[in-house]
Symmetry: C2
Subunit: 408 residues, 2 copies
Amino acid sequence: MKLMRVTDPEVVISLIAEQFKPLENEKLTLENAGGHCLFETITAPEDIPGFDRSTVDGYAVYARDTFGSGEGIPAILELIGEVMMGEAAPPIENGQCCLVHTGGMLPEGADAVVMIEDTDQTGTMVQAYRQVAPGENVIRRGEDLKKNDIALLKGHRLRAPEIGMLASLGITTVGVFRQPVVGFFSSGDELVSYNKARLKPGQIRDSNAPALRYLAEQNGATVKYGGILPDRFETFLEKSRALLEETDLLVFSGGSSVGSRDFTARTMQALGEPGLLVEGISIQPGKPTLLANCAGKPVLGLPGHPVSALNIFSIFGKAIIDRLAGRKEKFFHPTVRAVLSRNISSHSGRTEYVRIRLKESEDGLSAVPVFGRSGMLRTLAEADGLLVVPSAKEGLNAGEAVDIFIWE
Amino acid sequence: MKLMRVTDPEVVISLIAEQFKPLENEKLTLENAGGHCLFETITAPEDIPGFDRSTVDGYAVYARDTFGSGEGIPAILELIGEVMMGEAAPPIENGQCCLVHTGGMLPEGADAVVMIEDTDQTGTMVQAYRQVAPGENVIRRGEDLKKNDIALLKGHRLRAPEIGMLASLGITTVGVFRQPVVGFFSSGDELVSYNKARLKPGQIRDSNAPALRYLAEQNGATVKYGGILPDRFETFLEKSRALLEETDLLVFSGGSSVGSRDFTARTMQALGEPGLLVEGISIQPGKPTLLANCAGKPVLGLPGHPVSALNIFSIFGKAIIDRLAGRKEKFFHPTVRAVLSRNISSHSGRTEYVRIRLKESEDGLSAVPVFGRSGMLRTLAEADGLLVVPSAKEGLNAGEAVDIFIWE
């Protein structure tokens, strides 16, 4: 049999960054831009906030009018009115003050606010029992962003705070990297659509198609499903060429027979230069994975076993989607720390992904391995996440602290 | 001034579970069910897999025919054909074998598969150089799920593995807890829509509406935005009543003026029994938060400052959405471990959320606090996540290992 050239997972991740470029610019309204990465650097078109604002309910004053005041020796100020929310404030003079609410505009002249708790009001006379420094209880015009400041750099991913910041600047459409359209094919003569009610002997339902669709959509991609490919090479290639034309990433899944595996590789070679890059990854589960660059577009061939297919797509499919969508490679990944409940043996020389169920115990969280073959989705449904055993290790011991990647 | 009854964050989370019930059942196609929680317990309508399958490429055999064979003493078997993928296999007799591919059906009689690497074939004669035990290289009918086995329990959240499992069973629609529709209002006379290009003095754009929309949608909710409420109580109440009618959770945001805060509380009391539950949470930022139960529906009043509003919604808004969607409260939360770069002081007696930027250094990850007032979205956009300083602590020291919750 042909020996596979097996590539390290880290090398595959680097290859993805080297070989594929982020997609082009797309203009989106702010309401639809969440999760996308900026294609442009945003500079502030105006100061934020646009005026000095009070951060408390109180009286806007000249700070120096309060100097020296305290519990027994209040400063006496003349109340000249109230700042109405959303309106310009009337100016004040030395010795005067103006009622202002949280978020309200400071009157011209005022440079601080005395909190209402520190005052007494009688008619138009306000007694301030605490001195304030200039700027106290005030957010200055431009303190958040000054006009022409860089607000967000190209490549910054739009989360809720960034959307809020753009909204505060009055920016309603933004240029972002387009998120990819992923084309999926299933292959293998044993496969039938998952909505087929009754199976003939030897048939199984294509469970990968809807599961992978969800993973792709979770990562911001749009999915076009091309159906189940027949084990006939001409049709296989022709349909693949057509779907690749309409998509940014093509994924083959489900075929574990020699025929479909072979067709996938041949198709990858025929779809465009340079073709096949990776034939096998030193990872468990998921070794028989194919990756190609077909005229600049990524094409991924997943192993047929469902658990392997989901594992590989959640690592490398996600990395490709992230790259195409302009997302920076993260140097941190959230995990849950737990104590391994039993010894795990593993082969050194390959990275192993062990399914883990988390259990609450008196001593904290316990990480319980869920064993089972890679064809068994039940084992993955029982698992909360995965433990990565690096290729240099030959196993892990019960009682070790481990970090679990959670399946959301 | 009126003193707030300030509630502990943990108490608020428990209140949410006590006071609100998950929403009703909704039937969804599998393609749209991802992220939802099952309203029904799913039992397997058939065995998965439906037949004994080979897990390798090889020859299906009677295991006992190979007993005693080895490197120099092959078992000699008669090849009677090939199992075609997706078709029933022809039965074999003692002394016979049949070529089978990964995932192919085992012939009647066969109970194991010899891997092709361990054989030589000459015409219809196969020499097997390795003995196999019964069941070796075979996944048995029903090994993943037996007919009538419980596949997934009511309440189980549908992730990719669960969707794959349901698809493998031929289940194309499922009953799930409906995910909530969230109604949002902004309030405060200083606010104008974020698509207003030019502001008058004293006005600011409503940046919370689109930011909160994104947070709600990220958590699986649908959003109805009711606009900016005027500081007039009758209209405030009337519009709130109408939007609450069409939604499962009502959220007030943006008003930091005394008027709008007061109207929010009065409206909560008027919308239905029991009304206001929480007036202030011992959390920083975000203390002036209101929570009500209005005739069974949750109503949340967020603080006006953008950072506070996002912080509160990402904790308590999310908890309410999770509860309504039937999600179980998780006992684990993924975080990133890092080393605190400098001392942080905090007030004991309240839980503090400190914005953190993560930095790569030679010694691992460093957690750098991003300081700034709660009105400043820039500080949140610069942060990768949040560090929680528990209320019992008075601060944390530089060099301590801390767990950071990442903003996605």
